[in-house]
C-alpha cells in the first residue's frame, strides 16, 4: 500500500493545477488569421484575395484516411456552390508535398490546394484534429470550426454555408 500511496502522491504533484499558458483561441466571430501560401496552380494565394466571398478552409493530409474520404464530398460542394459566392480552399499540411501531389493526380479537385510545408498556417488556425474545416463569412470572420470528419458532417457544412449565403 505504501508504494501505491507514494505513486498517487507523485501523480497529484505532477498534475497539480497549473495555469495553462494562454493561447489566443480561434473563436467564432473573431477575424480569421491572414496567410499566404503557394498553391498547386504555381501562384501564391492569400486569404486577403478572397475577401467578399464565403471561404471554407479545409486542412488535410494524404496520409489521413478521413481526409481522403472527405475530399470528394468537398469537391461536390465546390461544384455546387462556387457560383453562389463560396470558395473552397484545401490546405495540405505535409512538410513534403510529393505524396499529396501524387494523390491529387489520381483524385483531382477543382478548388485550389495550398501547401503549408512549415505548418505555420496549421499553428495559426490551431488545427486540433485531422481533417479540420474552418468556415469564414464574407467579412473574413471565423464562423464555424469543425474538428475531424465524421460521416454526415458535409451536411452540416451545407447548412452553415446556406445560412452564410442568406446573410
Amino acid at each position: 500500500m505504501k508504494f501505491l500511496s507514494r505513486c498517487v502522491l507523485l501523480l497529484s504533484v505532477a498534475v497539480a493545477p497549473v495555469l495553462a499558458t494562454s493561447v489566443d483561441q480561434l473563436r467564432a466571430g473573431a477575424p480569421a488569421p491572414q496567410f499566404q501560401l503557394n498553391s498547386n496552380s504555381g501562384k501564391p494565394l492569400s486569404l486577403a484575395d478572397l475577401k467578399g466571398r464565403i471561404v471554407l478552409v479545409n486542412f488535410w493530409a494524404s496520409w489521413c484516411g478521413p481526409c481522403r474520404k472527405e475530399m470528394p464530398l468537398l469537391e461536390q460542394l465546390n461544384r455546387q456552390y462556387h457560383s453562389k459566392g463560396v470558395t473552397l480552399v484545401g490546405v495540405n499540411v505535409e512538410p513534403d508535398s510529393a505524396a499529396a501531389s501524387d494523390w491529387l493526380k489520381a483524385t483531382p479537385v477543382s478548388f485550389p490546394i495550398l501547401f503549408d510545408v512549415d505548418s505555420k498556417v496549421s499553428k495559426l488556425y490551431q488545427v486540433e484534429g485531422m481533417p479540420n474545416t474552418v468556415i469564414l463569412d464574407r467579412k473574413g470572420n471565423v464562423r464555424y470550426i469543425h474538428r475531424g470528419y465524421s460521416p454526415g458532417a458535409e451536411n452540416e457544412y451545407l447548412d452553415q454555408i446556406r445560412a452564410l449565403i442568406r446573410e
Binding site: P66, E128, G129, S150, P151
Partner: protein, 388 residues
C-alpha cells in the same frame, strides 16, 4: 498419446477481431488468407486461416474468421512423448476447426467491441465470448482500452466419456501513447484466471522406485494439476520511426502466476520498405521461464507430491526465435473494388533449450541422465491480403 491442446488460438483470435479496433477510426475493410505450417518436436501442423472484415454503414464493422489446424504427430509408444519420427513411434492425425464473429461499434471517440469464438476438436470443445471498450483521448495521443473475456471449455478424452469443464476469465487493460512524432508506446496488462480440469488427460509424469518399471527403467502415472490458475502479465512496447523510412520495434513482457512460473519475453524488430512496393521485416525474440512449482522431469516415487507435472510448457527453458518476412504490395488497376493487395511470406525459426526436460524416449540411459531436450521448429506463413 500426447497432443497439444491449445486454445491460445482463441486468445490471439479474440485479439485479432477485437484488438484491431482503434478508437476513433474503424479498421479497414479487409480479407486475409493465410496458410500456416509448423514443423518441430514431432509435429506437423498446417492449415488455412481466413479473416474477413467489412464496415456496415459508417459506425459498425463486422468481422469473421475461419481457421483449421491439421495436426500430424509422432508419439513415442513407451513414454508417450511427442517426438520426431523415429522407429517405434506411432503416428496420429487430428483436426481442429475454429470459427468466430466480431462486431465493432464506433461512437465519436469510443469504440465498443464484442465477439464470440467456437473451437472444436474430437476431444476438446472451447467457447469464448469477449467484449471491450476503447477510447481516444488527449488530442488523440492516448488510447485506453478495457476488455473482458469469458471462456467455457469441455475437456474430453478419446475412448472415455470424460467431459470436464474448464472456465476462463481474463481482464485486459491497454494504453497506447504517442510519445513524439516518431515514437509510440504501448502498455498492456492482463490477468487470466482458469478453473476446472487444467491438465491433459493423455500426458504422463514419470517416477523411479517402482515395482514394474518399463524397458527404460521408470514408471508413469497421470499428471495431477491444481484446479485453479491465476496469472498476471504486463508488457511495454516501443515503436520508433527512423528518418530513412524504416521502423524499429522493442518489446518486453513480464509474467507470473500462482503455479510459480515467471516468464520474461524480449523482442526486437526492424521493418524496412525497399524499392517501391516491397517491405522487409526481421525480428528476434528471446524468452525464458522457470518451471512450475509442481513440475519435475523425474519424480522419486509414485504420488511424490499432491500435484505432478511433466509438461514441457511448464519446464525451465530458454527460447530464441529469429524471423524474416517479405511483403509485396500491388494496386490492381483493373479491379475497381480492390484498393490494394499484399502478398506476404514469413519464416521463423524457433529453438527452445530445456534445462529440466530430458529425452525420456531414448534407450540405454539411466533415467534422469538422458540428454536435455532441445526443440527446433520452423514456422512458415504465406498470406495474401486485400483491402476493399
Amino acid at each position: 498419446m500426447h497432443r497439444r491442446r491449445n486454445y491460445s488460438r482463441l486468445v490471439a483470435l479474440a485479439g485479432l477481431l477485437l484488438g484491431c479496433a482503434h478508437a476513433g477510426v474503424l479498421p479497414d475493410d479487409r480479407v486475409d488468407y493465410l496458410y500456416h505450417h509448423y514443423t518441430g518436436d514431432g509435429m506437423d501442423i498446417q492449415g488455412p486461416s481466413i479473416l474477413v472484415r467489412k464496415k456496415i454503414g459508417d459506425h459498425v464493422s463486422l468481422s469473421g474468421s475461419y481457421f483449421v489446424d491439421n495436426i500430424t504427430g509422432h508419439v513415442d509408444t513407451i513414454s508417450g512423448a511427442s517426438v520426431d519420427a523415429v522407429s517405434g513411434a506411432s503416428t496420429y492425425h487430428e483436426e481442429r476447426k475454429q470459427e468466430s464473429i466480431g462486431v465493432d461499434i464506433l461512437q465519436g471517440k469510443t469504440t465498443y467491441s464484442a465477439g464470440y469464438i467456437a473451437s472444436n476438436e474430437p476431444d476438446y470443445r472451447a467457447r469464448t465470448a469477449f467484449a471491450s471498450v476503447s477510447e481516444d483521448m488527449f488530442g488523440d495521443l492516448t488510447t485506453i482500452s478495457f476488455g473482458f473475456t469469458r471462456g467455457w471449455d469441455k475437456v474430453g478424452e478419446r475412448g472415455t466419456t470424460r467431459n470436464d469443464p474448464l472456465d476462463r476469465r481474463n481482464w485486459q487493460l491497454g494504453l497506447s501513447q504517442v510519445l513524439t512524432r516518431n515514437m509510440l508506446l504501448g502498455l498492456n496488462f492482463e490477468t487470466s484466471e482458469s478453473e476446472g480440469f487444467l491438465s491433459n488427460p493423455y500426458r504422463l509424469v514419470r517416477y523411479l522406485d517402482c515395482s514394474s518399471p518399463n524397458s527404460r527403467g521408470y514408471c508413469t502415472q497421470a499428471e495431477q494439476y491444481p484446479h485453479t490458475r491465476t496469472g498476471n502479465a504486463g508488457s511495454g512496447q516501443l515503436k520508433y520511426y527512423l528518418s530513412w523510412h524504416a521502423a524499429l520495434d522493442g518489446n518486453y513482457r513480464y509474467y507470473s502466476d500462482t503455479w510459480g512460473i515467471v516468464g520474461h519475453t524480449f523482442e526486437l524488430g526492424y521493418t524496412q520498405p525497399v524499392f517501391r512496393s516491397w517491405t522487409l521485416d526481421t525480428h528476434a525474440r528471446f524468452y525464458r521461464q522457470n518451471h512450475a512449482n509442481f513440475y519435475a522431469d523425474l519424480f522419486p516415487y509414485q504420488d511424490a507430491q499432491n500435484f505432478l507435472a511433466r509438461d514441457r510448457e511448464l519446464a525451465t527453458f530458454k527460447s530464441l526465435t529469429l524471423g524474416l518476412g517479405a511483403s509485396w504490395e500491388f494496386h490492381p488497376t483493373r479491379l475497381s473494388w480492390l484498393q490494394k493487395g499484399t502478398v506476404n511470406f514469413h519464416w521463423d525459426r524457433m529453438r527452445i533449450k530445456y534445462d529440466d526436460y530430458r529425452e525420456d524416449w531414448l534407450d540405454g540411459f539411466t533415467p534422469g541422465t538422458e540428454p536435455l531436450y532441445t526443440l527446433n521448429a520452423n514456422i512458415l506463413q504465406f498470406f495474401i491480403s486485400g483491402w476493399f
